[in-house]
Subunit: 447 residues, 2 copies
């Protein structure tokens, strides 16, 4: 295999022959291909694309660069959910215990915050004592025992993806749909799943704001999942505003606990139920959506889902009493109420501004090695389309100190636009399966 | 300057702002930009191109990464000639002493063989004792004293081009017209020239076989030259067959000596005169082409050009007697005459096959560190369009041993096609200036 001629062929728009992506990834993993060749190739892939056979082989090779979860001999179906990332995007923490209560294994391997978006691991780590780092064999055992483990990508899972992603991040080669799909799916398909539900975010707060790109990514990931024998369904959901009210690690965990107690905000619950219902259907534990929904509502009403979350917290070293008493979560030094200066209709709550403000306030990372302050963030009680009066309290800022409050106030002023009435786009807009795209257009439910 | 966002902007088709290419090249030269970012950027440039302001700035930055020749206070005009490379492409060695005899300085910095094409330095080094490595200050002094120096790119000239070229070579980013133009011109424009003549090869034996690409490269290099205040003219010449009869280092030097004695093959002399006439015109030492041609013919007829070459050889450590007695050049161990197996018209003499065979016979490099056997090669006495009889001797093979002869015979069988009559494309097809393209269409002159 001569690497320069491989690069030249992709540059000129050809597809690699069977076996070539596998050999290349193996050679890269073995340190035989320098990063300067891989980065040039990634740019050529971003330019020319990958056909579906190439993409399947690349993804398989990335999975094979590491270990995977194994559930041999275990009859329980395993279904995970993956989100492409957003602000206030906390549905994982609500649906994982709900689904695990319904006879489905949820081996949920998650990531950290990236750019303006939050990360499930950072949220979980705001729970005192909670650890997200565990060996794969331990995660498997916990899934078998409790139905769920919430853990971070270990060095054993798709290590070559980790290296390729870090390289792409600094060489302008991130926004390639096949490369994004391969990166996501190389981790998800190493989880030993029978089914996978994807939450593909659209709108300005997402990484692929345009609907056609989000659909393209959804279809590409579904193709990869199905070709690996994992039944895969995707939803397109709105990330033109934060999901739920809380944005910031500990604040979001608190909102999830409220949701598990039956007190979740309507938009968060709408997305959570859409995804969780699909997970039960893919698992085959319910035959229709109505029955699945009823079963999920019941595990909330009975307290079983909250109890499951407490059991997971305990199993992963955290203080399970948090589930009943969220005041045990770390608390911000300063809390300030924000009032809208203007009457009218909320036209926008710009999620990127909110996300970047949380990073600036210490609640996210500017560099990989940065520590995260779990306490900072926002609770924003209005949504696009809401009517507000001048001077009405519409948000709270949670900060470390006065300087943080100032950042928060400035961000809310910039992010929340009040003026003429607008219609917000639907919250859950499309359901995508191997068979096609179903337009849902469900409006955001308001209490 | 944030390198990833620069890469992203080029990837998305934007141009860099003034100063950005200069900063980037400085940072790369200082080791502050890793190769994996530069290679991804080069692929994005290959994809999206460079506008003329970007190209000028990049080239200037590459020149400024090193030293340049200085002829301050010297009134004599300096004109060089550059060829994009071919097989049997030896006109430099004929025209440099000719032009230097006409009151024009020729500071000729050349390169080595690359792929199937020969290199001027390798040819010169077949002259016993000849050295092509000299400090810039020495090259300047020799040009002032003798009117010409024939030397290799030193580490002082455009060092960043050297690194970028080596990187492009292994990352599939060579065939970008702006990058090729910047690489060539960063060296030529460091020669302290008043004028430059470019020999842009077309046809299957050249690096840009298609005429439109060759024209594009010619125009791009002319734009760069003129924007740096160097009057620049290009010719497109045919490289669908070797130039002249001799192919191989010492054999080509011998042919050049014959040419300087007035015995050069017609095609070689046609290209040499076209280029040399233009050099005299650009230098301003002659006002029209006819007068320039007459003057050049006179320096051949008088023996002045041959004497000049001998003086250059002597100045650069070689044995000047070679000029009168080419038998002092190293001689091949085996010489075999090749006869055409078939009667008809010569349809093709495929230059790449000839060039690769010379490399395989030891006369070129497979790796940078390889030594070159100067004696091996071919003398091919037929051209496309010639009539041949079965059994007619049409070439000689010069090899180290019987194995080399076998490679040579196989190559000639593959390269030389005999069959129905064809018309060969014109030898010197276009003259390109800042003002436009003149189609010449001159047929190859045959003796």
């Amino acid at each position: 295999m001569v690497i320069p001629s491989l690069i030249e062929r992709k540059r000129d728009g050809s597809s690699f022959a069977p076996g070539e992506w596998a050999s290349l990834v193996r050679a890269y993993a073995a340190g035989e291909v320098p990063d300067y060749q891989m980065s040039a190739l990634m740019m050529a892939v971003l330019w020319r694309g990958l056909d579906s056979a190439e993409l399947t082989e690349l993804t398989e090779a990335m999975i094979n660069s590491g270990d995977r979860l194994r559930f041999d001999g275990w009859e329980v179906p395993r279904v995970d959910k993956h989100s492409t990332g957003g602000v206030g995007d906390k549905s994982s923490l609500v649906l994982a215990p709900m689904v695990a209560c319904c006879g489905v294994g949820v081996p949920m391997m998650s990531g950290r915050g990236l750019g303006h978006t939050g990360g499930t691991l950072d949220k979980l780590e705001s729970i005192p004592g909670f650890t997200t780092q565990m060996p794969l064999r331990e995660a498997e055992a916990q899934v078998r025992r409790l139905g769920c483990a919430l853990f971070g990508q270990t060095a054993e899972i798709a290590p070559v993806d980790k290296r390729m992603y870090a390289l792409r991040d600094v060489t302008g080669t991130v926004p390639s749909i096949p490369l994004i799909a391969a990166s996501i799916m190389s981790k998800k398909l190493a989880e030993g799943l029978t089914g996978l539900v994807l939450d593909v975010k659209t709108g300005i707060g997402s990484f692929l704001p345009a609907e056609d790109q989000a659909l393209d990514l959804a279809r590409t990931m579904i193709g990869l999942g199905e070709s690996h024998g994992v039944r895969t369904v995707a939803f397109l959901t709105a990330m033109d505003r934060p999901l739920g009210r809380a944005c910031g690690n500990a604040l979001e965990v608190e909102e999830c606990l409220m949701a598990l107690q039956g007190q979740g905000p309507a938009d968060l619950m709408a997305v959570t139920y859409a995804l969780a219902v699909e997970m039960l259907l893919l698992a085959g534990v319910e035959a229709d959506a109505r029955a699945a929904r009823t079963r999920l509502e019941r595990v909330i009403a009975s307290g079983a889902a909250l109890e499951k979350f407490a059991a997971i917290i305990e199993a992963q070293g955290g203080n399970p009493v948090v589930a009943e008493d969220p005041s045990l979560l770390p608390q911000a030094g300063e809390v300030e109420v924000y009032e809208t200066p203007k009457a009218g209709w909320v036209r926008q709550v710009e999620p990127r501004v909110i996300g970047h403000a949380i990073v600036a306030m210490g609640g996210g990372r500017q560099r990989v090695e940065d520590a995260v302050d779990p306490t900072v963030g926002f609770v924003i009680t209005v949504k696009p389309g809401d009517r507000v009066d001048a001077g009405q309290p519409i948000a709270s800022i949670f900060a470390k100190d006065e300087a943080g409050v100032a950042i928060g106030v400035a961000a809310l002023r910039e992010a929340i636009e009040v003026g003429e009435r607008v219609e917000a786009p639907p919250l859950v807009s499309h359901r995508v399966t191997e068979g096609g795209v179903e337009k849902l257009g469900s409006k955001e439910v308001r209490k």
